[in-house]
Every structure is written in C-alpha cells, then in structure tokens.
C-alpha cells in the first residue's frame, strides 16, 4: 500500500525544492565560491588560449641543513589548491607563509626548522592545446623569518 503525503507535506516539499533551486540558479548566475554550497560549479571553468603556458604550483621550504622540503597536504595539512586559492594573499603579504611553516612544525615536531618557505610556479609550455615538454620556474612569494 502506498503512503501518501498530506497536502501540506506536498506543498512544503514543493516550496523547499523551488527555493533551493532558485538559490542554486542565482548562485550559478551571480554567485562565487564563497556561496558554497549554492555557488557556481566552477571546477575547471576558466579558459586559457591554446598556446598559453600552464601553471603547476608547488610550495617548498628550506630547513636549517639547507635541504629543500616539498610542503604538501601530508606534512602541512594544507592542500596545493588551497595555496593557489589564496595565492594573491601570499603574494601581497609573503609573511602569511609563516602559517605554512607553523603548520609544518606542528605536524613534524622532530623535523629541522624551516628557514625559508616559498611558492614556486612551474610554467609548462603548451602549443595547440598540447604540452610541449618544456618549462620554466617562477618564485612568486618567499618568506624568511
């Protein structure tokens, strides 16, 4: 036997569906990531010319022994995409990279102290929408205590 909804139950569900749908649509048309979960589904949504170099960002530190330490989500808890998402802030104020060094120290208390943290972008060559295999590195933010 079916279990019917009451008229009120059906109306409320219809109303909630419409409200959420309109909010999501508005988020797609005018919103930003900030409006999660109703923001635009903008993964891979920006475009680049077929011959524009492709950025590959990495964060690395140098410890007291001079060793270069790759800093990733495993040893800092910060994802690469999160560094990229806040890149402008790090470039405007490289002192914010101290937070990355602190996160590394918290998660690796036995490791050597970092004396430098930097954001490096490796620009990969692209031609006609295909990788060329050539690249150049650019340091966009650098912090030293």
């Amino acid at each position: 036997m079916d279990t019917p909804l009451t008229t009120a139950g059906r109306k409320i569900r219809l109303l909630v569906t419409l409200l959420c749908g309109m909010t999501l649509l508005a988020g797609t048309v005018w919103g930003r990531d900030d409006h999660f979960p109703f923001g635009p589904f903008r993964m891979y949504s920006t475009s680049s010319p077929p011959d524009a170099p492709a950025p590959d960002t990495r964060v690395e530190g140098i410890d007291t022994t001079g060793t270069v330490v790759p800093l990733d989500q495993h040893n800092t808890g910060i994802r690469r995409a999160e560094i990229e998402g806040q890149r402008d802030r790090y470039v405007a104020d490289p002192g914010r990279l101290r937070g990355v060094a602190d996160a590394y120290a918290t998660r690796n208390p036995a490791a050597s102290v970092l004396v430098e943290v930097r954001i490096v972008i490796r620009w990969h060559g692209v031609r006609n929408g295909r990788p060329t295999g050539r690249s150049t590195d650019e340091t966009v933010a650098r912090w030293q205590p």
Binding site: G9, Q86, N128
Partner: protein, 306 residues
C-alpha cells in the same frame, strides 16, 4: 503545479530508501577516513589561514581549532554508522547532516572549494524527511520519492550548471582553450599523458564535455530503461575522468545511485543464501549433519523504525 508536485513526490519502494540511506551514511563514514581525510588535517593549520565562507560568516561558525575538528570527527563517525543501520532516521539523520555540513565548511574555508558533493548534501538534507524504511520493503512512499527525486535533480544540476559556469567564467573560448591540457600537466596519469599527444583530441574532448553536461537534464525525459543507460554514461564519464586526472567525484557518484533500483541490491540476503547453499552442499556430501528443524527465515531481519 500539481503535476510537478506529483512528479517530485513520485512514490518509490521503501526498500530503495533503506538501501540509499545505508549507502549514503556509510559513505559519510568512509569520506571522513578514506576519501577526504585531509579535512581533519585542518586541525593543525593556523587559524589565520581560515577564510570562512559566506555561511560560516553569517551563522557565524567558529574558527576551527584542534578541539573543534576532533570533536566533530568523533561525533560524526559513530553517528553516521548508526544512521546507516536505518534506525531513527530523523534523530540520527539531522545531526549527521548538520555535522557534515559544518565539516564541509571547515573543508572549504582555506582557499579551495570543491564542487563534487552538492548531490550528497541534498541527499543528507532530504533523507531525514523520508519515512522510516526497511530493507526489502515493497511499500511505496511519497516522502521517500521526494528525497530521491531532489537528489537526482541535484546530480543533474551539477552537470548542467557546471556547463553554465564554464560559459560564464571561461566563455566560448573554453571549448577551444587549453583547460584539459593544463589538467593533464597538473595531475595527469600515464594514460592521460599518452592520449594528450593525439592532435586536437583534448580540444574535441572539451566540446564533448560541454555537450554531455548540457544534455544532463534529458535524463528526466527518457524512459526508465534509457535513463539507466544515461546514468551508465554518467558513470563512464567519471571513470574516464579518474583514469586521466585521478579526480573521483566520489560523493557525487554516491548521490547518483538515487537513479538506480537499489532495493534489488541485497548483500545480506545474498550472503545468507550463499551460506545456506554452502551448508546444504556440505551436508549432501555427508560432511555436516542436516539441520533438523527451524531453519532461518528467508530475508533480513526487520530494522526497527524510529
């Protein structure tokens, strides 16, 4: 209006709701420890790197601390496992939704917002409104039908509105640009590196992706059999995405099971049948004695409702 209302609440077997509920809540537990374990690592990230999202500022939600992150984790994990049992769908379902939502605010407030779980969030918000349901129950429920329907709509919106976002942010140039080449450079597999060398293949694929995403809503106008084929195409798309750039969209894939007749998937029943078949087979060969009376009833025990 009433036609739309009937479509939105088209009744489905309660067994389907029970199976979807179990799957979704088991996924939440798995998400915590397997799929997005990095959310927990935000506990060690300094609060100054926290950039709360609009809802985080509006409510306002606290800046994550190790205590907050650890508390939510250890509340959410057992609650989601309990909810997967189907017991107390409201009393367990609402806390799981609210805690997981806060978990996602913590996840997305450090500079990167993922777009792979709108359907899952809708499912978590809608499931507590569906009636209690037992596995294998054929009784149809309109409340359960609505929970599945809005999840399906969220899944389809994820595709269609992703195409819209590409046109909004990338413009028509997105189609002929180098977005896939960039994706392959950043996180391509060996397979992706190989096919990326085929002239213009990635550009053709970009046209294909937008066409596929724009066509998503057609799933709702297809007949049932063809809709299942369409869902198979959806899954194939994500299989290809995973094989090339290792992005799984796992929460979305779970939400997409709302299109499937999940009530037919009865692992516990199958295991029992296998056990009985094995026992019977051994008995026929004289290795164990046949049970004398009162063999176990067919099917799973009813899940208490609440």
């Amino acid at each position: 209006m009433s036609h739309v209302g009937r479509w939105l609440t088209e009744p489905v077997p309660r067994g389907r709701i029970a199976a979807f509920r179990t799957l979704v809540y088991l996924f939440v537990a798995a998400d915590l420890v397997l799929f997005t374990p990095w959310v927990r690592t935000h506990a060690s990230v300094p609060g100054e790197l926290y950039q709360p999202l609009f809802l985080g500022r509006l409510l306002p939600l606290p800046t994550p601390t190790p205590l907050l992150v650890t508390t939510i984790f250890w509340l959410l994990l057992p609650l989601s496992l309990l909810a997967a049992s189907g017991r107390a769908p409201r009393a367990l379902g609402w806390p799981v939704f609210l805690l997981y939502f806060e978990w996602m605010i913590i996840a997305m407030s450090y500079g990167k917002v993922d777009h792979d779980r709108f359907g899952l969030l809708v499912a978590l918000a809608a499931l507590p409104t569906a009636a209690a349901a037992r596995h294998g129950d054929d009784t149809r429920s309109e409340a359960g039908g609505w929970a599945l329907r809005v999840t399906q709509i969220a899944v389809v919106c994820t595709y269609f509105l992703a195409a819209w976002a590409k046109l909004r942010f990338g413009g028509l140039e997105w189609l002929t640009g180098s977005v896939l080449a960039r994706a392959v450079i950043r996180r391509g597999t060996d397979f992706a590196d190989t096919i990326a060398q085929v002239p213009w293949l990635l550009v053709v694929a970009q046209f294909g992706i937008v066409a596929f995403e724009l066509a998503g809503p057609l799933a709702f106008v297809l007949r049932e059999r063809w809709r299942r084929y369409a869902v198979a195409v959806f899954y194939s798309f994500h299989l290809m995405t995973f094989a090339t750039i290792t992005i799984s969209f796992a929460p979305h894939l779970v939400a997409m099971t709302s299109f499937l007749p999940l009530e037919r998937v009865r692992p516990v029943v199958w295991l029992r049948q296998l056990g009985r078949w094995t026992a019977g087979s051994l008995a026929r060969h004289g290795r164990v004695e046949q049970p004398v009376v009162g063999s176990a009833p067919v099917g799973e025990p009813p899940v208490p409702t609440g």
